[in-house]
Symmetry: C2
Amino acid sequence: MAAAPDSSPDARVVRTRNDILAAALKILADEGQESLTHPHLARVAGYSRATVYKHWPTRADLLQDAFDWLHDMPHHTPTGDLREDLVAELTMFRTVIRTYRVDRLLAVLADLAVSSAQMAQVRDQMVADGEAVVRSLLGTVTHGPALDAAALMLTGFVINAAMLHGGPPDDELIAAAVDLTLAGIRAED
Amino acid sequence: MAAAPDSSPDARVVRTRNDILAAALKILADEGQESLTHPHLARVAGYSRATVYKHWPTRADLLQDAFDWLHDMPHHTPTGDLREDLVAELTMFRTVIRTYRVDRLLAVLADLAVSSAQMAQVRDQMVADGEAVVRSLLGTVTHGPALDAAALMLTGFVINAAMLHGGPPDDELIAAAVDLTLAGIRAED
């Protein structure tokens, strides 16, 4: 008879890895990247140093897996009302930022990507996933440089507020950004 | 008789400090913040470790002075043509980003500000200086949440491109962002 799934060796390994990767992201978000060391991570996650070193011999392996683990960020499912869909997606982005401190993780990734092609790939993948819904919504009403500019502006607006202005935008500011962008696209049509 | 200014002890101290702070910013931009250690900085700047430690006993002192030293970033002087002034200011921002890798320095600051109130102040000052001209230009045609959104979008657009999309925007993209923003503001008027 098979063991219950949550006590099988595989399930235990998965749980251990999940616990430690979640703790790694928490350290990056709460304390900054300098604090992410194997010994500190072991303490925060509640595992032995040996366990942490066994799964991730180097800090680069650990960072890669931690960011990969974060990969599937939730998105709004479009309903067909462009304005409401954009507002809902940016509001979802705000929730994700608050929950996972994605703005801080992006700052860490941007810094690590300077010296690591591996981290630059992780950053590119995370950014592409992050902006996919906004880009595809805007792509229904504009194209070319105006689409690129609008997508960079709307996602950059949220990142800028969260990373450099003390917190992600409130409802009023999100609505103002979406309305300004859509008014601009329609006026240029 | 006073000594020639460039050989006086004070001038030498200033030159030493300038050399070392410039090297510190270069390390942050080219190699990322983990590489900024006193020994590595001494090597890159061409001074003794003792000199670096004497001027900046801690890494926090060093980071504070390095970012303060960067403070007075050049800006475009408005001429009265709003579109051209915004394009010129964002183009100047791009030049500053390329010269000083301000996008990377902002990523480092955002990360350091997570755990240091001192660094959060440095970041706030740098951001306020950086966006002042864009905000004041946009303030001639809009106000309230639309102004806040437009300023965050236009500066966030450049930072987003530089920090997370491989490089600051080209001329075509800057023009598209400015035109979209101004068209939106005028349509909402």
